[in-house]
């Protein structure tokens, strides 16, 4: 009996990282890996595969800044490619979501559900500070393969939405012990349906620390759809508060 308990304790101890962390601390540390601590911009190249073959390639520029009040990132997303979408702009600021089309010179307010349509949503979801919108529970420790099929010892967390600005109701999240590198996430709708599976990969030294340079998103509803996102040209950039006014959108110029 004693030996069985001793074995169990040893086993448990062997799977835990050296320093105890609360789920909240783990999620916050992983947020800091994904998002620099000051305003930044990145050029995301999104490549869509259907049935294993490359179909579309889009490019968006994401200007991102943390709201000091909500501690959530606000994004202005400018479409670069394909040509039919070039110049369109999405303002994604909590509940204030607007879409500007230079063809009609009109800004249209969109709902949180509507922001999930189109590629801007991907850029938006990727900057979410999960620690703000979700409460995490540690399910345990797992060794899983990352996108490059390398084994990673991870915390396996269950995140439940606690904010009405949260895009998904629930997220399963795997974060590597020690480095706090996000490895994988699964996103679930209110109905409990698995919507997306996301892998982070290509960790590189960027803006002072190792950060993922790519993400792979598998559409769980239609698993023949896979999108890769390459985070290019990541750099700090001042994003004035005025950029989050809808009347600023027609003024946003490409650089």
């Amino acid at each position: 009996m004693f030996r069985a308990w001793f074995a169990a304790v040893l086993l448990l101890a062997g799977t835990l990282p050296a320093a105890a962390q609360t789920p909240r601390e783990i999620i916050a540390a992983a947020d800091r890996v994904r998002n620099p601590g000051q305003p930044f911009r990145t050029t995301n190249t999104l490549t869509e595969y259907v049935g294993g073959k490359q179909k579309d390639q889009d490019q968006i520029v994401v200007y991102s800044k943390e709201d000091p009040a909500t501690r959530q990132f606000r994004n202005v997303v400018r479409y670069v490619e394909p040509p039919r979408d070039a110049g369109k702009i999405a303002l994604l600021d909590g509940k204030s979501l607007w879409f500007y089309d230079p063809a009609s010179k009109a800004s249209v307010r969109i709902s949180p559900q509507q922001r999930l349509i189109g590629q801007a949503s991907i850029g938006d979801v990727l900057t979410v500070n999960f620690v703000v919108d979700y409460a995490g529970t540690l399910l345990g420790n797992e060794t899983i393969s990352d996108a490059e099929r390398q084994k990673r010892d991870c915390w396996h967390l269950d995140l439940k939405a606690v904010s009405d600005t949260a895009t998904y109701d629930r997220i399963e999240y795997w974060i590597e012990h020690g480095s706090f590198h996000p490895i994988k996430a699964k996103f679930y709708a209110d109905s409990g349906r698995l919507m997306k599976i996301l892998y982070y990969r290509g960790y590189q030294e960027r803006l002072g620390t190792l950060r993922p340079s790519e993400a792979v998103i598998i559409d769980a509803v239609d698993s023949t759809l896979v999108t890769t996102i390459s985070f290019g040209d990541l750099r700090f950039q001042d994003v004035p508060e005025a950029w989050f006014q809808r009347d600023y959108l027609p003024r946003l110029r490409a650089e």
């Binding site: 009996m1 169990a8 086993l11 448990l12 062997g14 799977t15 835990l16 490549t47 869509e48 595969y49 294993g52 490359q54 390639q57 490019q59 670069v80 490619e81 040509p83 039919r84 509940k95 204030s96 230079p102 063809a103 009609s104 010179k105 009109a106 307010r109 969109i110 709902s111 949180p112 559900q113 509507q114 349509i117 399910l139 420790n141 797992e142 060794t143 899983i144 393969s145 996108a147 099929r149 396996h156 795997w174 994988k184 709708a189 892998y199 790519e214 792979v216 598998i218 698993s223 759809l225 896979v226 290019g232 004035p240 508060e241 989050f244 006014q245 009347d247 003024r251 110029r253 490409a254």
Partner: protein, 464 residues
């Protein structure tokens, strides 16, 4: 035994290396996506050129209640146009913007060759100067768009007469090809809101309404946009998170209007919006007949062709609606439009009665139709009460297929127009699409009495 259960429990909680199923997800990543593909070369920033060919056919209404004076609508039309938007930076804070559409067109009622075959629409050409962060001064032809509704924007004061040869009944597309107004505009945008002031001078006299047979080839048509001094002042402020109402003050000639719009997020899937403008003004019929006489389209001393309310009074325009997006990527807009200056049920009755009783008198039928052409030129609903519904489905059935359906219904007589559009994005450079529309309603109804019963259009777009 209990020891084994306890050990198993611990293992399930801690889960070391028991997550083999998780690795199965990696098998869903195609081989081609194992390495990052080369990035596309980004389009030249701020520049867009689309080459479009649109071939349309019109089916006439065979049971026309009131005879239509010439010219008759074209039965077919083919339009090849280059739609361009470009921007140049001249220096620190100084940019020049151009937007226009160069058309080559052929239709059954335009002889070839003819200057009507070639047309250029100068939508925008202006210089913009940014002297400080958040401040801009624009000078030139600028397209200023206001409002939040999808089907009718009472606060979009610069919409009048600005749409040239529309290819669709979709209001959101109509805005893509409308002329800007020659103006000086100043704007300040700060963290809590924005304020805009614009002055558009009168540079020419009002002119008669255009038909498809007398459109100029290269004239900028400032008579459409700058035939009166016009001023606009608008401001918006973020009152609370996600709540930024906009207030507008507009003056033109002897007319002053105030307006407002606001939007509100309702849950995760819906947006509610309301847009209102009001001021002392004439009825639509009165305005149309005055304009017709002023521009010589209606004889100056000709009596009014029908009875109507001729008083100047405070009148309101309202657009209230809801947009709702489903999990399957369909966005619905449902709106109610109120245009107090428009035709009431009694006005419609007078319109049809005048045609029936006095249509034989020279000039009566043309004057009656002129009222309707004027309303269309002004981009106003012709009736007082209109319902509007629009559905847009992204990735409908298959990826890259977009379907749009809309209907505008005169709530006074139940007549309306319905339109369905399909666009398939063949590649990053090509889109093919089609459109079909039809009107419905009785012979003595708003839409049922229109000269066009149905229409189809096919188009091919090449993004350059």
């Amino acid at each position: 035994m209990r020891a084994r259960v306890a050990l198993l429990s611990v293992m399930l909680v801690s889960g070391p290396a028991f997550a083999g199923n998780e690795d199965n997800d990696l098998d869903l990543i195609p081989q081609a996506a194992q390495t990052a593909p080369a990035a596309v070369s980004a389009a030249t920033l701020g520049r867009r050129n689309d080459l479009v060919n649109a071939l349309s056919f019109s089916i006439p209404n065979q049971n026309l209640t009131v005879p239509l004076p010439p010219p008759q609508p074209a039965s077919w039309e083919d339009r090849l146009f280059l739609d361009s938007r470009d921007e140049w930076r001249l220096g620190d804070g100084l940019t020049v913007t151009y937007s226009g559409r160069f058309n080559l067109r052929a239709e059954n009622d335009i002889p070839f060759p003819n200057h009507e075959v070639v047309r250029n629409e100068l939508r925008e050409a202006y210089v913009s100067w940014q002297p400080a962060e958040g401040i801009w001064l624009d000078l030139g032809r600028v397209n200023v768009k206001s409002g939040v509704a999808a089907g009718y924007n009472p606060t979009d004061f610069f919409r009048t007469r600005a749409v040239v040869e529309p290819l669709t009944a979709d209001p959101s597309v109509l805005r893509e090809d409308r002329l800007g107004t020659l103006m000086a505009l100043g704007q300040y945008v700060w963290a809590g809101g924005s304020i805009t002031a614009a002055f558009a001078p009168r540079v020419t006299l009002p002119t008669a309404l255009y038909t498809n047979l007398n459109l100029p080839s290269f004239d900028p048509m400032l008579d459409r946009t700058n035939a009166a001094d016009r001023m606009l002042l608008k401001a918006s402020a973020t009152v609370a998170t996600g709540f930024s109402p906009e207030l507008l003050l507009y003056h033109e000639g002897n007319r002053t209007e105030i307006g407002s719009d606001l939007t509100i997020s309702i849950g995760q899937s819906a947006i509610g919006y309301v847009e209102w403008a009001g001021g002392v003004q004439n009825s639509l019929i009165d305005d149309a007949l005055r304009y017709g006489r002023q521009t010589g389209s209606i004889p100056a001393r000709a009596p009014a062709p029908l009875l109507f309310d001729s008083g100047r009074m405070s009148r309101n325009d309202l657009s209230v609606g809801l947009s709702y997006t489903t999990a399957t990527k369909i966005t619905f807009n449902l709106e109610y439009h109120y245009h107090q200056a428009g035709l009431s049920s009694r006005d419609w009755d007078n319109w049809f009665t005048a045609a029936a009783r006095r249509g034989g008198i020279p000039g009566v039928d043309p004057a009656l139709w002129y009222i309707r052409a004027y309303a269309q030129d002004q981009q106003d609903p012709i009736s007082q009460h209109t319902g509007f519904v629009r559905a847009d489905w992204t990735d409908a059935f298959i990826t890259d297929l977009e379907l749009t359906a809309l209907a505008s219904v005169d709530l006074q007589d139940g007549s309306g127009v319905a339109q369905a559009t399909a666009d398939y994005f063949l590649s990053r450079a090509w889109t093919v699409g089609g459109l079909a529309s039809f009107t419905f309603g009785g012979r003595r109804s708003d839409f049922g009495s229109l000269p066009q019963a149905a229409g189809v259009l096919v188009r091919l777009i090449r993004y350059l």
